[in-house]
């Protein structure tokens, strides 16, 4: 039924127009924006717009004691904070010439791999939500919470643990902790087939993700892509294996790769990595009880600790890719300079801008989540 005075309106043909995608938009990772130009619903130009999360970490760290910075670094990346603590600690240890006891190194691997599982579950949830599958988002977030429970037992903190400190770790594991990790791994292994049914092998998801945001290997290498996004283009590179740190050279694990380079390939690489993390954790659970000893090397008074002059560029493989800190000490009690190189500083800016071009507007969010871009690593 139309009103009597109804007059049909002639719509102009769809023109080019601009759209601010974010900073508050359910389809974008928090506090980040893309300014996109569209022709119809096809993106013709995309410009990343950061700065909404800038908290001046790098500047602030120059005014805090070496040990105080441990409270700051995990806050740089919310979904995957552990690699931040570890990479900072590795850098300070390199500068100060500290030997980390064996048990602490194994505890760090345990902590890192739990964090990788938590981060990947979170990403699966986020990615599923961008394709309209909210059940999987709830699953991902809920299962991540079980990992957070373990973090809480381990360190007292659920999201930010400040568990790794220069010289080792803050405390040993509570009683029965490894058994609980083992239980969680069993649970996750039982859950994976269910995730497959709902998400990874879901025709809706596969149709949406296949061919979205495709990167060739040449593009990936030239644009500075690292981590699972690089491995989804067929290049088998992982800092854990190719530039080993801690005790990763004593562990057996595969580096999963895919060749398609699209959103689907990236997600499948993460799924396979989750299985590899479970495999690593099982080895840690088997070997950790046999490794006794201190969990920290003797440290100078942290309130008056002058770290020797020098520079260090430690690297770790975070769940998102290559994470590095450049630390400079002038021999004082505070860093002279801390430069944070997060993997998302590439993925969320130049790579996302380039990959968005030519996709339809509804796939921009999916492209971003499939890159596992973490805006706080851009802003720092």
């Amino acid at each position: 039924m139309r009103p009597e005075n109804y007059k049909s309106v002639e719509h102009p043909p769809s023109h080019e127009y601009e759209l601010n995608f974010g900073p508050n938009h359910p389809g974008i990772e928090g506090n980040y924006a893309l300014k996109v130009k569209l022709e119809g619903d096809v993106v013709t130009e995309a410009k990343a717009d950061g700065g909404y999360l800038h908290r001046g970490f790098e500047k602030l760290m120059e005014t805090r004691l070496w040990m105080q910075n441990i409270a700051l670094v995990p806050r740089i990346c919310v979904p995957d904070p552990v690699p931040m603590e570890v990479v900072y600690s590795l850098g300070v240890e390199e500068l100060g010439g500290l030997e980390v006891p064996a048990r602490a190194q194994w505890l760090r691997v345990l902590h890192l791999e739990l964090s990788r599982i938590a981060a990947h579950l979170f990403t699966f949830g986020g990615h599923a939500a961008t394709t309209g599958m909210y059940s999987n988002m709830f699953w991902g977030v809920t299962d991540r919470d079980y990992v957070l429970d373990l973090f809480e037992q381990m360190s007292g903190g659920r999201v930010y643990h400040m568990y790794n400190v220069p010289g080792g770790v803050r405390r040993d594991l509570p009683d029965g902790f490894l058994a609980r990790v083992s239980e969680l791994l069993d649970y996750l292994e039982r859950r994976l087939p269910q995730y497959d049914d709902l998400f990874f092998a879901n025709a809706v998801f596969i149709d949406r993700a296949r061919g979205t945001g495709t990167l060739t290997q040449e593009q990936a290498l030239s644009w500075g892509v690292t981590g699972p996004n690089l491995r989804a283009c067929g290049l088998s590179f992982d800092v854990r294996r190719d530039d080993p740190y801690l005790v990763y050279d004593q562990l057996e694990f595969d580096i999963p790769t895919e060749t398609a380079g699209d959103a689907l390939a990236r997600t499948l690489v993460r799924r396979a990595e989750l299985i590899q993390s479970i495999r690593i954790l099982r080895q840690v659970i088997a070997r950790l009880p046999g490794i006794d000893g201190p969990i920290r090397c003797p440290l100078p008074n942290p309130l008056a600790w002058n770290v020797p002059m020098g520079e260090a560029y430690p690297r770790v493989e975070s769940s998102k890719g290559e994470l590095c800190f450049y630390l400079v000490s002038t021999g004082g009690d505070r860093p002279h300079r801390v430069h944070v190189r997060g993997p998302s500083s590439m993925h969320a800016v130049q790579v996302l801008e380039r990959l968005s071009i030519g996709t339809r507007i509804e796939d921009v969010a999916q492209t971003m989540f499939s890159l596992d871009a973490c805006p706080p690593e851009v802003d720092r």
């Binding site: 990343a48 717009d49 950061g50 700065g51 800038h54 001046g56 790098e58 500047k59 602030l60 005014t63 290498l221 030239s222 644009w223 500075g224 690292t226 290049l235 590179f237 190719d242 530039d243 520079e311 560029y313 690297r315 290559e322 590095c324 450049y326 400079v328 002279h336 300079r337 430069h339 190189r341 500083s345 590439m346 800016v349 130049q350 851009v378 802003d379």
Partner: protein
């Protein structure tokens, strides 16, 4: 290509660069100190002939006593598993340098970051504009001469905070520990 051949190429490249001082810091980490005008050539040779395809990052360090910026280009070779950190110094007076965006696309992000945070301009870089600090008109904040605490003291007013509930606690003998 074997790791040995690539390693020889790295030595060759560094041997060709006059004035480049190489230092092996630990296995897989090499530091090179080089003059600013020779650094782009070094990177070109490292990428083109020694397989250093990945620019991991460009770090900038402010050295206020020397009136200089130090730029550190971290490049990584996937084939040999070696990270070369090329260090150079730029005078703060000119605060201008050359972009390596043509060589390494990731440089675009790092150069913009350094321009914003240190005020060091890269000629030929595609994005010499504000990205993070779009609403900031002050001096580049990462400079050592920029004192954040002083800025806060000058910009914001302190307010006395003495609510009723706190007065009640003080009356009972409690309060905020100074």
């Amino acid at each position: 290509m074997s790791k040995e051949i690539k390693a020889v190429r790295l030595d060759e490249v560094l041997g060709e660069m006059e004035g480049a001082v190489m230092q092996r810091k630990r296995p897989g980490r090499i530091r090179v100190d080089i003059e600013a005008d020779a650094l782009p050539t070094l990177l070109q040779l490292l990428k083109g002939r020694a397989g250093y395809l990945h620019l991991s990052s460009i770090s900038c360090v402010d050295w206020p006593e020397d009136e200089e910026f130090e730029l550190v280009y971290h490049v990584w070779s996937y084939e040999t598993g070696v990270l070369v950190s090329a260090h150079t110094r730029i005078s703060k007076q000119s605060a201008r340098y050359i972009s390596v965006y043509d060589l390494y696309v990731p440089a675009g992000f790092f150069e913009r970051d350094i321009y914003e945070m240190y005020g060091l301009y890269f000629e030929g870089s595609p994005h010499m504009e504000k990205f993070i600090l779009t609403e900031w008109n002050g001096p580049p904040p990462m400079l050592k001469s920029f004192d954040t605490e002083e800025f806060v003291r000058d910009t914001f007013d302190w307010k006395e905070y003495n609510p009723d509930w706190l007065q009640e606690i003080v009356a009972k003998g409690g309060g905020i520990v100074e």
